[in-house]
Symmetry: C2
DNA sequence: ATTATCTATAGATCTATAGATAATGC
DNA sequence: ATTATCTATAGATCTATAGATAATGC
């Protein structure tokens, strides 16, 4: 059939810029997949090169070394996720005016990332798993969490404090601590709940998570912070 | 001084059984520490041998290979923790009689392990971090979580279902999912909350966690399961 | 003339084992 | 006679780089 087409487009080779972009993206995607399955040290550059169908030397050519590669993988998605989260927060604050709720803030905190991870894009799906690993890794993991998420975290923490006036600061921080634990574990999509529920729930089902997580934490955080508040009143 | 003591005890060498016990324990402790810091693949048997001050071949002599070593490390503490958790649950159920509360069950689920990790024993402290890593690792991590914690998990899940009659099963499973996320992240003691709170909170402070986690989840789980209950009533 | 990709390889690990040695056990 | 420990090393990676090659860019 193709041979009957008269003015066949020449098999124009892609420009260098395009090839650079395409190859480095393929390496990043492969690394993202493997890192999310086995962690930083569970993956060799040979694994990445093989998965990306390039030679190991090309991985060095584009990303210098393994640490840089990991950082590049992480940066790509973290930046996009942060933009979405800040936007969700700003939108919600504007929409809610004088009456922002705890539920609304927790929702702005969690839902944008959950939606990205659950969107069907395998890149973001893998990135979610990666966040679960990094957030539970001391040392370099924590350094990376700080570098990429401290700004957003502090922004949300300030809002939580404002919305819970009179609550003890420690209580707000601890609530945030639990929230991030449940949140990043949800992003990790480990499959554990699938097994325990005999297939009733799926850890990749971000809609179910987005629906329940804010509800649970809105009630739970209010309970902790208000109980403290109440016990402080009598004095 | 020592030379003045008349009947000096001879420098009796430890028996083979004692030396075996002592050396293998030192290897386990060293491995536990390093695995908790860098994960399974971030540690080499040479690292372990160096930390334990033995030759690499001794690690093989006692534990065959790296996987077996990791399993041995994990088993030692997991068994003890499980016993403590089941005992806490049984004790609570007996004590509470007809009126077990959500708070009481969540407390039995979390507090025993939190106490062990916070007890000051560096072995359990490291083990906590290890659980954080393993629970956020797919593949072999999940296999290990299943093997060591499925029995306890199912036991608690049944109680949660009983104590929340009429709640939708999915809601109970999702609550459990969030609970384990917050719980294992707390065990991991990553130091993130220390930084975000400028030193006000410490992620190694298991007492503060044990005090708040059950309260938050008791209120949060009730909120989700009862809201569902309420919306199901009209029909 | 520059850039993307490939070839070849150095040098540093890492796991694992075979076999020797020096104690303890009986 | 058995067991804990040490010596030595094989064989398999793994990271990283130097230098060649074959395209594109101008």
């Amino acid at each position: 059939m193709a041979s009957t087409i008269p003015d066949e487009t020449p098999p124009r080779r892609r420009s260098q810029k395009e090839r650079r972009e395409e190859t480095s993206t393929r390496i990043l995607d492969s690394a993202e997949k493997l890192f999310s399955e086995h962690g930083l040290h569970g993956v060799t550059l040979r694994d990445v090169a093989y998965e990306a169908k390039v030679d190991t030397s090309l991985v060095h050519y584009y990303f210098s070394n393994k640490d840089q590669l990991f950082r590049s993988v992480f940066t790509r998605r973290a930046s996009e996720a942060n933009v979405a989260r800040i936007k969700a927060l700003d939108d919600y604050l504007e929409k809610s005016g004088d009456n922002p709720t705890l539920h609304g803030i927790v929702d702005a905190f969690t839902t944008p990332a959950l939606r990205l991870v659950g969107s069907g894009d395998p890149g973001f799906r893998n990135f979610g798993a990666l966040v679960g690993i990094v957030n539970n890794t001391p040392g370099w993991g924590q350094a990376m969490m700080s570098e990429f998420f401290d700004d957003v975290s502090r922004r949300f923490l300030e809002i939580f404090k404002q919305i819970l006036p009179g609550a003890r600061e420690e209580d707000v921080y601890w609530c945030y601590h639990f929230l991030t634990g449940a949140f990043t574990f949800s992003l990790a999509q480990t499959g554990r709940i699938d097994k325990l529920s005999d297939g009733l729930c799926h850890s990749t089902d971000m809609d179910s998570i987005a629906e329940r997580l804010p509800m649970l934490f809105a009630a739970g955080m209010a309970s902790i912070c208000e109980k403290r508040l109440a016990s402080a009143q009598p004095s």
